[in-house]
Symmetry: C2
Subunit: 341 residues, 2 copies
């Protein structure tokens, strides 16, 4: 935690008209201070959320710069988009002299809670986090905010907590992609996406729906599928392509799913993009490995990471008020490649 967010021993000493040494001794229960005085000081410290920052204190004493460490929680490390974001965070942080403590929740709420606690004990100056898929309670984040630890969400933001956040313009990314599919002549555009409990899923779906509506088309329940990975996409696409009125285009919530659709269509004998156009979302390494290469919405992970770190550092260093909720949106880019006409 940065010095600016906490009351210090110096503050307590000044407020109570005693020396810093007295405060320090009282908080350590030293018999050199009267029991009465000790109680008074400890009560005051508690009421003002004094957080005995041993580390910062020892470093201050030794005249070494206080450690500037940012905690980063990543749902999965071996994941292209998250590792791009981590790279952006690292670049921005290291250029400002901050170091990163990194942990992965492995998409698990309990791990996330433990990491928050560990980071808080390690006196990180702030935390940058994307929540686990199964996180639906937010006490652990709320506790950090109450302790004055700046918190910045990226990608999967928490609607249950009022904290700063960086997302990509999921709605506009999807809207632009689907509008492009309509402009090149696609009439029946399927949507493969995740359940709508996550903000990003909701926004991408809404972008898809609004692009259809704006162009006089109507979402067809038969073409809207709950699917967010390649294995499932390969499983369900044969059925979707055997509908009486099969789709002539797919918009998928990520590249992995789009590639499942691509291979499924090719195996079924459909030509991509002549018979079927496909658009993904991510623009990871897979998007240029597949054949034809994938048209997709680029999520710009590095930029997302840089923005998240930048907000956090501004709050830690006082350029942004610590209780200000920043909402930043990184623009996506539609990358046209071989899977669309």
């Amino acid at each position: 935690m940065s010095d600016s967010t906490n009351i210090t021993m110096k503050d307590i000493a000044r407020d109570l008209g005693v020396s810093v040494a007295t405060v320090s001794r009282a908080l350590k229960d030293s018999p050199r201070i009267s029991a009465e005085k000790r109680e008074e000081i400890k009560k005051y410290a508690q009421e003002h959320n004094f957080y005995p920052n041993i580390l910062a204190e020892s470093l201050r004493k030794s005249k070494v710069q206080p450690m500037k460490i940012i905690g980063v929680i990543v749902p999965q490390l071996a994941h292209f988009y998250f590792s791009s974001i981590l790279s952006g965070i690292e670049e921005e942080a290291s250029s400002h002299g901050y170091r990163l403590m990194v942990a992965q929740s492995k998409e698990n709420y309990e791990n996330e809670v433990k990491i928050c606690r560990a980071f808080s004990e390690s006196k990180v100056c702030g935390i940058i986090v994307s929540q686990a898929k199964n996180t639906t309670k937010y006490d652990h984040f709320q506790t950090l905010l109450e302790k004055g630890v700046p918190l910045v969400f990226y990608d999967r933001i928490s609607t249950g907590v009022n904290a700063s956040r960086v997302v990509v313009d999921d709605y506009m990314g999807a809207f632009t992609a689907v509008t492009h599919l309509i402009n090149i002549g696609c009439k029946r555009i399927a949507y493969y996406g995740t359940s709508l409990t996550m903000e990003i899923a909701k926004n991408r779906y809404n972008g898809y729906r609004d692009a259809l509506l704006k162009n006089g088309m109507h979402p067809d329940e038969q073409l809207i599928r709950n699917c967010d990975n390649r294995a499932d996409a390969e499983l369900i696409t044969p059925d979707v392509m055997q509908l009486p009125q099969p789709p002539d285009a797919f918009f998928a919530v990520n590249d992995d799913t789009a590639i499942g659709i691509l291979y499924s269509c090719k195996r079924l004998g459909f030509r991509v993009p002549e018979d079927v156009s496909i658009c993904g979302f991510t623009n990871g390494q897979r998007a240029i490995a597949c054949d034809p290469m994938l048209t997709t919405v680029e999520q710009r992970g590095v930029r997302v990471g840089e923005e998240a770190a930048s907000i956090l550092i501004d709050q830690v260093e006082g350029r942004l008020p610590k209780n200000r909720v920043e909402r930043r949106v990184v623009r996506t880019r539609l990358i046209l490649r071989g899977t669309t006409r």
Copy 2:
């Protein structure tokens, strides 16, 4: 740094027959200790490489567990193989109650030196590192070892430093893959790899060469190319395929290069695998996104990361002697897919 790797103030006090407080005061140049005594204690501390570990000391005093932080240096974070390794390190470390401080060298020697210094100042208990591509001096690593900071290399090991290391069996991986190509009837097998300054490049090349020699074939200079990325592979493959005696198979030093060869061959009208077989090295996300899917040598990054963290933690906690050089080899696996007959 762990307590076990350094002489402590307690040790000095015992050895000189004075109190710990006296040692502490002498090292802080307190006038409460005679100039003579101060000199004696400081000289002894210096001779025994006493490293005033302010952090550990303050934590010891406050009876909080000393911070268990491992520094990890990654050449690039947005990179499938390295992020897999980081994931393995994180899993092993967190299961033992260690936290990770992560920094990327961005393949740059100067950054690597700065990170080593920063990690050392942060009193990490050890460092896990894969060196930058352009690192050819090793003083920064040597300094850490001399300070007693355990060091474990992964993937790109440093031949200039005698430290523990975890690599995959690059030689056997290549040997097995090329032997497979020979067994399925390939007669002219090309090799695309990096220059031989890096250990891994040397070992993979030797595996290729020895598989040929063992089967009565001879490396053909025309088929051995200095190429380790897709763009270069797409550039040079047309020439290679127009040789009077073109190759009927390729072994590439990574998946990215293999995919460049694949698309180049397809564009030139060759059928994969009927006319040309291709084998990569990595087994990243790209390997199953390309069409046909890539036969490749799996590098098992998560396992490499787990082994590296395990060695480091064993050294920190005294289960392995701190000056013992551990060399662990993670076995690769040949994954057969559509690019080989």
